[in-house]
């Protein structure tokens, strides 16, 4: 039962655990700098530097993800999924290469991503991280992201007016 749940869908797995189905390998999350660093590395792997003006740092993706993980309007389900997902990413890295994700070479990290992308949870996890990454790439700079509209310029986008005066 536990193995089947892990392979099928991490989101469903979380719900089963919450409902007390007693799945054996429930992942116990604890936030740490190491986990935050893994997140940041994952973001770079999913969206490599375009140049010195457009990269994860200029769009402030790392801080933005932290903002999202504490935002009152982001569902607890999404937050829990992302937090646990980074742990499952390490599990997969350990399974394939006997090391955590952040300890692996570029090539091996790609192999880990390719492996999880074949699973429902992994595909959903990559999509979720990319979605919030795109928010930091293309949202209004008033949020401390998308510095000087670098993301907009990249895709030739003109934002609507009026622009927001403050983040929500």
């Amino acid at each position: 039962m536990a193995q089947a749940s892990v392979e099928a869908s991490k989101r469903s797995f979380l719900k089963l655990a919450l409902l007390g189905a007693g799945v054996a390998s429930a992942y116990s999350f604890s936030w740490s700098k190491a986990k935050a660093d893994t997140f940041a590395l994952l973001q770079e792997d999913l969206f490599p530097d375009i140049d010195e003006k457009l990269n994860i740092r200029t769009i402030n993706a790392r801080s933005y993800l932290s903002y999202i993980l504490h935002h009152p309007r982001v569902s607890d389900d999404d937050k829990e999924f992302m937090r646990n997902g980074v742990g499952w990413l390490d599990e997969e890295a350990q399974e394939l290469f006997q090391a955590n994700y952040s300890e692996l070479s570029d090539k091996k990290r790609q192999k880990v991503l390719e492996s999880i992308a074949k699973t429902e949870w992994g595909e959903s996890f990559i999509e979720t991280i990319l979605t919030y990454l795109f928010e930091s790439l293309l949202g209004d700079p008033v949020y401390g992201i998308n510095k000087e509209g670098v993301g907009w310029k990249w895709v030739h986008h003109t934002p609507g007016l009026p622009r927001p005066a403050a983040p929500v």
């Binding site: 607890d76 979605t131 293309l138 209004d140 609507g160 622009r163």
Partner: protein, 551 residues
């Protein structure tokens, strides 16, 4: 002695706003109770993150949510909206959902008022004629054109409905040059098209400015006042009294009349409003919810629900959408520049198959609207996450796909509207176990659509795809589904002559509670094959006239 208003209106959207405005303008003492806040034009921006992704104008689902039950393999499967980010909220501020609409306005047509008589019974569907006719509503459609402001150009076509005025009060909004390509194709195909009427000002009015072609219309509240929300068009310019952050949780009644509306203020304190007449317009789902939560000894099944009809025959709009993509590589430099010109609208509709024949049978069809894909950039970029085989991609491969596609294409969408047939299996009830932040049981929506809805939708979508192909669009998609749109909800308190099978009489007054009227879309027994808002506004003005007579 507490104040007794002439009229208390619950909800300030298209229905509630129109009633409150009309009665206040006529000199009656009116108060509207609105759960949300009052925003003005200067408060609004095109903040994609705040408005569209965090949905700041809708309730936080942790506080207020819906339970949705979907019929799957003969049984309802329950979904807690909080866990699936699924709700039927559509903006809870003064003016309600009318702030966020795109304002594509179509009237119902004469046969929409008598679907049962004209097209016959459909097995498994509760189609019934309306207790009023098109002629009863026509003067009010015309009133909405003037008072709310509808721009457009009347063009004769097979299914043009009768009009008391020759044309709209304002010329159509400015259009993108690509509409000429559409027109040429439709002429060649012999397809009748019209310029889509819009509830958006194409010229300035006192206290409201004309559209400034922001390029971000639908889903955003309007910064110029051009969009015909009840807030901008009716309540704000005419200073109608609205108590904001007032959540009505109970309607207190005796055996025949409502005595008071009880509401919580922003601090959770309870207050009551007494009035001679109460008008409920909280959106169909929430209006039904309030009635069902207002049980008492006289109405043990919910207020105005001794006949067991409240919540029944909930409808949405059937249909779906599709798209075609125009690419820089396939167009001349000039044509691509025309295509990507921002701000100006596409505004084309086809109602040629509002009725059609298949085999030897005559069917009620619907409307196809054509419009550019929304300009919000994040969904357009996010789409590139999936390759053509549906595999996820990331890294440099994803970036190359974004660079190749996003700046070099524009999508033209189509939206199909056809009747969502009312069925026994689609209704609103209360989930006693699920409560909102005030401790009030939430609405439980049950969904069991009729298969006929899909047949009609597919028929219309095929026509739309035909047009896109002839225009030279690529990557054409079509998605007709039974998925209920959150912004096109009606029914639940349908009007009719028979109190055993309807909640309201022909004037939208409750059969059972003599001072209760319902003015949102819940009065509709069938929806027609058009977006609902024009009809909601028109009927609300009609109900206001009835109430004026009574007072």
């Amino acid at each position: 002695m507490s104040k007794i208003y002439d009229v208390c209106v619950i909800g300030s959207g298209a229905g509630g706003g129109a009633v409150a405005y009309e009665l206040a303008k006529s000199g009656f003492d009116v108060v509207a109770l609105e759960k949300g806040k009052w925003y003005k034009e200067e408060d609004f921006s095109k903040d994609e993150l705040g408005v569209c992704r965090r949905e700041i104008y809708s309730p936080n689902l942790k506080d207020e949510y819906h339970i949705i039950n979907v019929k799957e393999d003969g049984k309802y499967v329950r979904y807690d909206g909080r866990e699936y980010s699924w709700s039927f909220w559509n903006g809870c501020i003064v003016g309600g959902a009318s702030n966020f609409m795109s304002g594509y306005f179509h009237r119902l047509k004469p046969n929409d008022f008598k679907l049962r008589s004209v097209y016959g019974k459909i097995e498994g569907a509760n189609v019934t004629d309306w207790p009023i006719r098109y002629e009863d509503l026509e003067p009010y459609y015309a009133k909405v054109e003037q008072v709310v402001g509808v721009s457009g150009k009347v063009k004769k076509h097979t299914f043009l409905e009768p009009r008391s005025t020759s044309d709209f009060p304002m010329l159509p909004l400015a259009e993108n040059g690509a509409t000429r390509w559409f027109d040429v194709v439709c002429d060649a195909l012999g397809y009748e098209y019209i310029q889509t009427p819009r509830a958006i000002l194409s010229q300035d009015r006192e206290k409201r400015s004309s559209c400034y072609y922001s390029n971000f219309c639908g889903s955003y509240p309007c910064s110029s006042g051009a969009k015909g929300s009840s807030r901008a068009a009716l309540l704000q310019p005419h200073n109608v009294k609205v108590k904001t952050e007032a959540f009505v949780y109970n309607l207190e009644s005796d055996a025949k009349r409502i005595k008071a509306a009880h509401y919580y203020d922003r601090n959770g304190l309870s207050h009551k409003i007494e009035a001679k007449v109460f008008v409920l317009a909280a959106t169909p789902i929430e209006s039904c919810r309030l009635l069902l939560n207002s049980k008492n000894v006289h109405f043990p099944n919910g207020l105005a629900n001794n006949a067991g009809q409240v919540g029944k025959n909930l409808i949405f709009s059937a249909g779906g959408s599709g798209s075609g993509t125009f690419k820089r590589s396939k167009l001349s430099k000039e044509n691509f520049a025309t295509l990507i010109q921002p701000g100006v609208f596409f505004n084309r509709s086809i109602q040629q198959w509002y009725e059609y024949e298949k085999g030897e049978k005559r069917y009620k069809g619907g409307t196809i609207d054509f419009l550019f894909e929304h300009a919000n950039i994040i969904p357009r970029v996010k789409r590139q996450i999936w390759d053509d085989e549906g595999n996820i991609r990331w890294g440099r491969e994803l970036q190359k796909a974004i660079e190749a596609h996003v700046p070099n294409e524009r999508r033209l969408n189509f939206e199909v509207f056809n009747d969502w047939l009312p069925t026994d299996g689609t209704f609103v009830s209360i989930d006693e176990k699920a409560k909102d932040k005030w401790g009030i049981p939430v609405a439980s929506i049950h969904l069991d659509p009729h298969p006929h809805d899909l047949d009609v939708g597919e028929f219309l979508a095929d026509k739309a795809v035909d047009v896109l192909k002839r225009m030279g669009a690529e990557d054409i998609t079509s998605d007709i589904s039974a998925s209920p749109p959150q912004n096109l909800v009606a029914g639940g308190c349908r009007f009719g002559s028979d109190p055993k099978s309807s909640v309201l009489d022909r004037n939208c007054r409750s059969h059972e509670v003599e001072n209760l009227y319902v003015a949102d879309a819940s009065f509709m027994p069938t929806g027609g094959s058009v977006p609902y808002t024009w009809t909601i506004y028109a009927n609300a003005f009609r109900v206001a006239d009835v109430i004026k007579e009574r007072l």
